[in-house]
Symmetry: C2
């Protein structure tokens, strides 16, 4: 099944906290239920968060029976704020909320009855665009990977993180399908173990050779010449190319730089937040200490241990070999390259499904 | 209680796999039982491994009732080989086995009856020396740490890893006791979580301010200026100063170098293996995939996932600010400094308990 699926007034969410051992579907019927699912990471992955948030806005627009335009727009804006607060770092949520609000505002003649259809139309557009974006990223990114060798990836950036085939994992799988002989090192990605739980599951289904490692083994693998490229996703890219992604991404960038290994970020261009000048302006979400203290519910540390659990870190643009977007590959200087891509008209196959 | 304790024909081993939630003591009565406890990491920590192995040799020497000298020495050598094979990377096991074998060989007049006492005497010497070594390392290392700030450490290098107050953790606790205002970032240290389980427990008992983090958060902490020094232990130091330690240590060294943060290794001089020229000659132990697949027994990855689980990595000498030993602080060039320390007479307080 798909990671999220709109089904006639309900957003069906595959609960990723239960994967790979159980396939449980959450049926969200309000924006608040979608925000809660985002907050506990039942749905996650930057592009997918945008899509889930957009459908959360649809649920808000559909579920409000007040007659007045202003009242319904106020309620929609509050729902949007609640969705954005559920994961503050990923720009995709704010971006999707903004797009659905714009669509609502443009609804015919400020007619309350037209709101649900206008918001639904925009959410479905966002979802379709992401599918197409994934294909473009996969194709462009696959070309960058070597004909044979080892690619290291972090967290999950595949079909479970998008409406399509994924971003960084999409490019790896596409390269495999194009006949490249790749083996993937999968970082387990503490604390939430998206690598062990989700990426391992996806790669095994795609029959791509892979080996799971503890995050801290990456240095040793690189020192032994066993990593030819690193590919990761992005939760927010600042205007200058600084990239926020799952905690540990910056560690891989420093290691890759030290070993002269190419370091690729893959994300739709919508991940670029032009209102964020540099990585220093990105808010880093601090998550529940329990994620660190008790993996799988088993507490390891002594009771009462103080924990810091930053969910993301920021990789400076200067450490990124290229950002693979759906509209082209940005190479250094990344800020200028991203500006060019953002200003350029979209190629037909990327945004016109 | 102590991490290991010799009690009249039995080696009492505090089972560190059960900490911090349970204090269970294993009573080992044969060298094979000690080797098994080492293999499953019920007893761990480079210096403590040497002590446990030495008492394993005592159990072998005491338990053998054969009359002939040659037969008993053969049995003792086989026990030593089994102990060394139980953890191939830590040099301390081989070093302690070598010392007890030498003591056995020197036993009065090749008299079989003198063997147990000779081996026991040597094991007790090794244990006492380690206590004194720890004090010397703690004192020398504490001076290197800043008067206030944040120290990051990895794995466990405290009282649970030695017969005394520890190595890297010993120097941190000593600096705290000397009035320095330190806060410790404790890497959880996947896959076996010695940081979360053991270092957090020790620091809380010592009332040193600390915060537990996932290993991959170290980069983000350093980038934000929140780490003033890194202090780690060592399982084997090659003649040129290259240092094998818990996997992830090399990652911290690369990160520390990138951020201009001092990177300290603390270990008794016996950790230097002069027969190992460089880190390239160090065998890295590959451990059970289950450690990665199922922290706390809960499987996360899909069944059948392939795992690589190198227990150690090697940090090149060039990335180490100083090696704090019981006989002095070695600074670059480390190979020459270690040679000097090894050749110099031991200071009174360090080796004459």
């Amino acid at each position: 099944m798909k990671a999220v699926e709109w089904a006639d007034g309900t957003l069906r969410i595959l609960d990723q906290t239960r994967l790979p051992h159980q396939e449980v579907v959450i049926e969200a019927r309000t924006a608040r239920e979608v925000a809660a699912a985002i907050g506990r990471m039942s749905v996650r992955g930057a592009p997918l968060l945008g899509i889930a948030a957009a459908y959360g806005m649809v649920l808000s627009a559909s579920g409000d029976s007040r007659a007045g335009w202003e009242g319904r727009m106020d309620a929609l804006e509050r729902a949007g704020a609640e969705l954005i607060a559920s994961r503050p770092t990923a720009v995709n949520v704010a971006w999707a909320v903004g797009r659905t609000l714009d669509a609502a505002r443009s609804a015919a003649d400020r007619c309350p009855a037209a709101l649900p259809a206008a918001v639904l139309h925009e959410a479905q557009r966002i979802e379709r665009e992401d599918e197409v974006s994934c294909l473009a990223i996969a194709r462009l990114g696959a070309d960058l990977l070597p004909g044979s060798g080892n690619v290291l990836t972090h967290c999950n950036t595949g079909a479970l993180a998008t409406a399509g085939c994924g971003t960084a994992l999409g490019m790896i799988v596409a390269a495999h399908e194009a006949g490249k002989h790749l083996h993937v090192w999968v970082d387990e990605t503490r604390p939430v173990l998206q690598g062990a739980r989700l990426t391992a599951w996806e790669l095994q289904r795609a029959e791509v050779p892979m080996t799971l490692v503890a995050d801290s083994a990456a240095g040793s693998l690189m020192a032994r010449g066993l990593v030819d490229a690193v590919a990761v996703g992005a939760d927010r890219i600042a205007a200058n190319g600084d990239t926020a992604n799952k905690v540990g991404t910056y560690v891989l960038a420093v290691l890759a730089g030290h070993h002269g290994i190419p370091f690729y970020v893959a994300a739709p261009l919508s991940t670029v937040d032009v209102t964020t000048a540099t990585g220093a302006d990105i808010v880093i979400e601090e998550r529940d200490p329990a994620e660190v203290l008790a993996p799988g519910g088993t507490p390891f540390a002594p009771a009462g241990t103080r924990v810091a659990n930053p969910a993301f870190d920021v990789t400076p643009a200067s450490m990124i070999t290229a950002i693979v977007t759906d509209r082209g590959v940005a190479t250094p200087p990344l800020g200028a390259a991203l500006r060019t891509l953002l200003g350029a008209p979209a190629p037909r196959q990327a945004v016109s499904p």
